[in-house]
């Protein structure tokens, strides 16, 4: 077993609630027909935190992500980033405000090479316009160069630089997942939502990715993480919010959550169903 190189924050560093929140959801609720998929979820995330969002399958975690990023409109509630309400905005506008996401099923532009994928994702970073692109003005070309440099730096950060000419659709699974993270980072986000970034990865790949996530925080990006790998979640998160059937059942530091009876029951219940 490879010993993970990620250094967990010491218990004294772990604060139960952030003093100043950069992001929060207030009473976030979504009905699908008569079913309440997400019920009254209040998340509060402080600048530079890594917060875990966990819960059994079907608990509504990905729906929370879709509500935050504008892919689904909430039935009620608010999504606040630095004091601005984002509810009702389109996904691209929310990305423009500084919230990036990855997808549970690794998504890329499959016919593009890795570097083309990054260029497409670097759209927000460079701000290269349509009309100046037709005339290839010199400010346009310098923007294009800066997008390329930024893309290469981000690829280097996640370790995909050697794969830059590979066609994205042919990449191994773990690399596709990392490409998704790199593309989200290419938008230069303030808050990054990772939807099961470790799913389907080998032990070494998990450790690598955890290092990258720690590195993302070190670069000043706040992270909200959905993950089923409990060992990894407990190791890397400052705080954890547990939901089940769309409702919050527990929150706190990893130690607190681990000992929470409700949480144990929810996971055991899920295990019974699975068994």
């Amino acid at each position: 077993m490879v010993e993970p190189r990620v250094v967990p924050p010491s218990p004294t560093e772990r604060h139960p609630e952030p003093s100043a929140s950069m992001f929060e959801t207030r009473k976030l609720t979504r009905f699908f027909g008569g079913v309440c998929a997400v019920n009254d979820i209040n998340l509060t995330i402080g600048e530079g935190e890594i917060v875990g969002l966990i819960g059994p399958n079907g608990a509504g975690k990905t729906t929370v992500f879709n509500l935050i990023t504008g892919f689904i409109r909430p039935s009620s509630g608010l999504v606040m980033l630095n004091g601005e309400n984002l509810v009702g905005k389109k996904p691209h506008a929310i990305a423009g405000r500084g919230i990036a996401r990855t997808f549970q099923i690794a998504k890329s532009f499959p016919q593009f090479t890795v570097i083309q994928n990054m260029a497409a994702a670097g759209h927000l970073y460079g701000g290269a316009g349509f009309w100046e692109g037709i005339f290839r003005t010199s400010p346009y070309r310098s923007k294009e160069r800066s997008i390329f440099d930024h893309s290469m730096k981000t690829l280097g950060f996640v370790g995909l630089e050697p794969w830059k000419e590979a066609v994205a659709g042919t990449l191994p699974h773990a690399h596709q997942k990392l490409l998704g993270v790199a593309m989200a980072l290419a938008t230069a986000p303030k808050l990054l939502l990772l939807d099961e970034p470790l799913e389907g990865m080998s032990a070494e790949e998990v450790d690598r990715t955890l290092e990258i996530i720690a590195g993302i925080r070190a670069r000043g990006t706040t992270v909200l993480l959905i993950e089923h790998n409990m060992r990894a979640v407990m190791k890397i998160c400052d705080r954890i919010v547990v939901i089940n059937f769309g409702q919050e059942i527990a929150r706190g530091t990893p130690e607190e959550v681990r000992q929470n009876e409700e949480v144990v029951k929810a996971y055991l219940g899920a295990a019974e169903y699975a068994g």
Binding site: H92, A95, A100, F109, H123, L124, F130, I134, I147, A186
Partner: protein, 326 residues
């Protein structure tokens, strides 16, 4: 000499040949006619490809061509507006319609988009057919002027009733349009358009405004399609709504599919499929069958389109010695 440089010289020589061909064949009216039709078809196919990269595969482009053609023809023939301006007006009319219907169209995808655009094209044709006081209806619109003659500082007398001169007008517009489309293709926006065509939700999650991008490229494509229509109107000098039916739209789509989806694909497809019926004059009344045959051959033997042919040949040549060694 490195291969990049020799390839550039090869491309330059090809371009020069294409530019000089009409002069070399100036006595041959039939050749010039085919050349002009070819150029117009290339504009139509390349424009369709540009919008198809975002997943908007239309079979109603003949409708936008009709709007360009009739707007320009009516402005020039009935309102006496200079042909150069009326042609611009034809392109703009097609763009305005595209921008208006672009937003609702941007929300529908795949086969639904195809169906809606097909009916749209047919509606436009029927409107042209019914508005006979303005468009001449089924009897056609006649007496459309050629662009006005002018002279370059008294040195060069340009007269567009001369087919050779008209040929160069078409070529000039073709090259400008292809340059614009090529710059879009390799620009950042072009990458975003192709991204939308592959993964719409991922595109929006990285900040690409999907609806705006789709409407933008749809409008640009329809501007050039309208312009191609007005070129057609002032070349033929006679218009009939039958020229803008669904079959015309389908042919434009077939040029793209046969040629391939890369930038040069529609150019190759439009040239080949314009020339085939001309070379085999006896086949002209069977044109739809010939097109379907070519389409089948391409889809089964060369799914990447005509532009994929050099790569396939190179690969088979590289493979052959290995197989012999075995």
């Amino acid at each position: 000499m490195d291969s990049g440089r020799s390839r550039r010289i090869g491309k330059g020589a090809l371009l020069l040949l294409v530019c000089l061909l009409p002069i070399a064949m100036r006595g041959n009216d039939y050749f010039l006619h085919v050349y002009i039709v070819c150029a117009i078809n290339i504009i139509l196919a390349s424009s369709l490809r540009a919008m198809a990269t975002t997943g908007q595969m239309s079979i109603g482009q003949a409708g936008f061509m009709a709007i360009g053609a009739y707007t320009s023809a009516i402005l020039a023939a009935k309102c006496g507006i200079p042909v150069y301006l009326s042609m611009l007006g034809g392109g703009c009319a097609a763009t305005v319609l595209a921008a208006l219907i672009g937003f609702p169209l941007s929300r529908i995808r795949t086969i639904y988009f195809v169906m809606v655009t097909m009916f749209l094209g047919e509606i436009i044709r029927l409107v042209v057919f019914e508005a006979s006081s303005l468009t001449g209806g089924s009897t056609g619109l006649m007496g459309i002027p050629r662009p006005e003659a002018f002279s370059f500082f008294g040195l060069l007398q340009i007269d567009f009733s001369n087919k050779l001169h008209f040929c160069y007008l078409v070529l000039l517009l073709l090259l400008i349009i292809l340059l614009v489309l090529y710059n879009i293709h390799r620009s950042h926006a072009g990458t975003a358009f192709a991204a939308i065509g592959q993964e719409e939700s991922l595109s929006s999650s990285v900040g690409i405004n999907v609806a705006r991008s789709k409407v933008l490229i749809f409008s640009v494509a329809c501007f050039f399609t309208g312009l191609a229509g007005s070129l057609y109107a002032h070349y033929m000098t006679v218009l009939n709504p039958d020229a803008f039916g669904t079959f015309t739209s389908l042919y434009i789509l077939i040029y793209v599919v046969v040629g391939g989806r890369s930038f040069f694909g529609p150019i190759a497809g439009a040239i080949l499929l314009t020339l085939i019926p001309e070379f085999f004059a006896a086949l002209k009344e069977y044109q739809p069958y010939v097109f379907v045959l070519v389409l089948f051959l391409i889809v089964f033997l060369l799914p990447g389109g005509l532009v994929d042919l050099p790569r396939r040949i190179r690969e088979s040549v590289r493979k052959a010695p290995l197989e012999e060694a075995r």
